[in-house]
C-alpha cells in the first residue's frame, strides 16, 4: 500500500527557498533537495492545540489594552479550507502585525515610528465548523527594512496555521489589494507569479460595517487529502 495521505504542493505554489532578491535567503536556505517522505503517522498527525483556551479579546486586537489603538479599524474574515474546499473546522489561526505607524511591539524593531501603547499586535482565533474565522484589528502600516536601498514592506498581517497534521503546517502573510509596494517587495514576489495573488485579501463591502470598519476577506487553503486508498 502506498500511503500518501496529503497531496503535495506543485512547483508553482510556494516560494523557492533561495530567492536572492530577498537577501536573507542567501545565508539561510538549503541548497540540497529535500528528501521526499512517504506519509507515516508522524506526518499525518499534528498538534491541534484544542486545549488552548482563547479569551474573548484574542481575536479583537483593538480591545486588548486600556483604550482603542490608533489607526484605521478593519475586519479580517475568511475561511480555512483544504484543497477540496472542505472547511478545516477547529483550526487555530494566529496572527501578528505592526501598528498603524509601521512599528512592531518588539524590542528588535528599531524603526523610527511611534509605538502605540494600546496596540500589542498579536491575536488568535479558532475556525468554526464552517472553517470561518474573524479578526478585528487596525490596518498595519508599511515599514522600511534594510534589504536594499529604499526597501519598504507592503502592509501585511502574518498568519500561522496548523491544520490537521504536521504536513499541513503553514506560516504566511496576508497583503492588501492595490498596494503599490507589492510590485517592489521581494518577499511577496518570492512566490511565483500566478500564485502570489492568493496572498492578497479582497476588499469586501458585505463585510464592511457602516460607521465602523472596512472589511477584508482572506481565505486560506491548506493541503487536501488524497482519495482514500482501496484496502
Amino acid at each position: 500500500m502506498k500511503e500518501e495521505t496529503y497531496r503535495r504542493a506543485t512547483a508553482g505554489d510556494h516560494p523557492t527557498n533561495l530567492s536572492p532578491d530577498y537577501k536573507s535567503t542567501v545565508g539561510r536556505s538549503p541548497r540540497k533537495s529535500a528528501v521526499v517522505l512517504p506519509h507515516s503517522l508522524s506526518e499525518i498527525t499534528g498538534p491541534s492545540l484544542a486545549n488552548e483556551r482563547l479569551d474573548a479579546s484574542e481575536n479583537d486586537l483593538t480591545k486588548q489594552r486600556m483604550a482603542e489603538p490608533l489607526g484605521e479599524r478593519i475586519i479580517v474574515q475568511g475561511r480555512v479550507l483544504d484543497q477540496d474546499g472542505k472547511p478545516v473546522s477547529g483550526a487555530l489561526v494566529e496572527i501578528w502585525q505592526c501598528n498603524a505607524a509601521g512599528r512592531y511591539h518588539h524590542p528588535g524593531d528599531q524603526h523610527d515610528a511611534p509605538l502605540d501603547p494600546n496596540f500589542y499586535g498579536g491575536g488568535r482565533a479558532r475556525a468554526d465548523a464552517d472553517g470561518r474565522y474573524k479578526f478585528v484589528t487596525i490596518k498595519p502600516g508599511a515599514y522600511p527594512w534594510k534589504n536594499h536601498h529604499n526597501a519598504w514592506r507592503p502592509a501585511h498581517i502574518h498568519f500561522s496555521l496548523f491544520g490537521p497534521a504536521f504536513a499541513t503546517r503553514l506560516i504566511t502573510q496576508m497583503y492588501f489589494p492595490n498596494d503599490p509596494l507589492l510590485a517592489f517587495d521581494p518577499i511577496y514576489k518570492s512566490v511565483p507569479a500566478g500564485a502570489r495573488e492568493r496572498l492578497q485579501a479582497a476588499f469586501d463591502m458585505d463585510l464592511t460595517q457602516p460607521e465602523w470598519a472596512l472589511g477584508y476577506r482572506f481565505d486560506i487553503v491548506l493541503r487536501g487529502r488524497n482519495a482514500t486508498p482501496m484496502e
Partner: protein, 187 residues
Amino acid sequence: MSHALTPSQTIGPFYWGTIVNAYHADLAPTGVAGERIEVVLKLHDVDGAVVPDGVFEIWQANSHGRYNHPEDRRNLPLDAGFEGYGRAGTFTDGTSRFTTVKPGRVPWPAGGLQAPHINVSIFARGVLNRLATRLYFDGDPALAEDPVLKLVEPGRRDTLIAKRDGNGTWLLPIHLGGPNETVFFDV
C-alpha cells in the same frame, strides 16, 4: 473543484511577544510517563553562524509510541497533559531548549517500526518555507532499521542524530546550509 494552495511566507523577525509567548517548551508535566529528556536544538546559517531569531517547533509521540491525534487509532495509552507539541524561539546563541519524554516507536506504513524520533519544524527570517527535519537519538539500537534514515544517503544521516553532552542533554545542531547542511524532508 480544487482550491489553490495558500503560498508560504517567512515568519520574519518579529514574532516574539506575540505567537511565541503563547506556548511552553516544557511538554511533559509531572506525572507523564516515560524517560525525561532535555533537548537542545541549535540553529546555524550556511556559514555556521548561529541564528538568533528563528523558531523551532517539535511534534512527537508519547513514551508508548502513541500520537495524541485522532489519526492514531491504535490501542495504546494516551498521557493526560501530554500533547506532544512544543514551540520556542531561538536565543542569542541560536538555541532552543525543550524538556519532554523520549518518544516511543511508531509504525511505518509498509510494515515495521520507526526508531524513536521527534519531528522538527524550523522557521526564521530568510526562510520562506517551513523546513521539516527529524531528531533521532544516538546509540538507539533501532536506528539501524529505521526506514526514514534508509532514505537518506549514509554520509548525511548524522545530521539527524542528536548526541548526548556531559549532562545528559540531547544536542542537535541544525545547519540551514553549508558543508554540514541538515537533511530536510519534503513531508
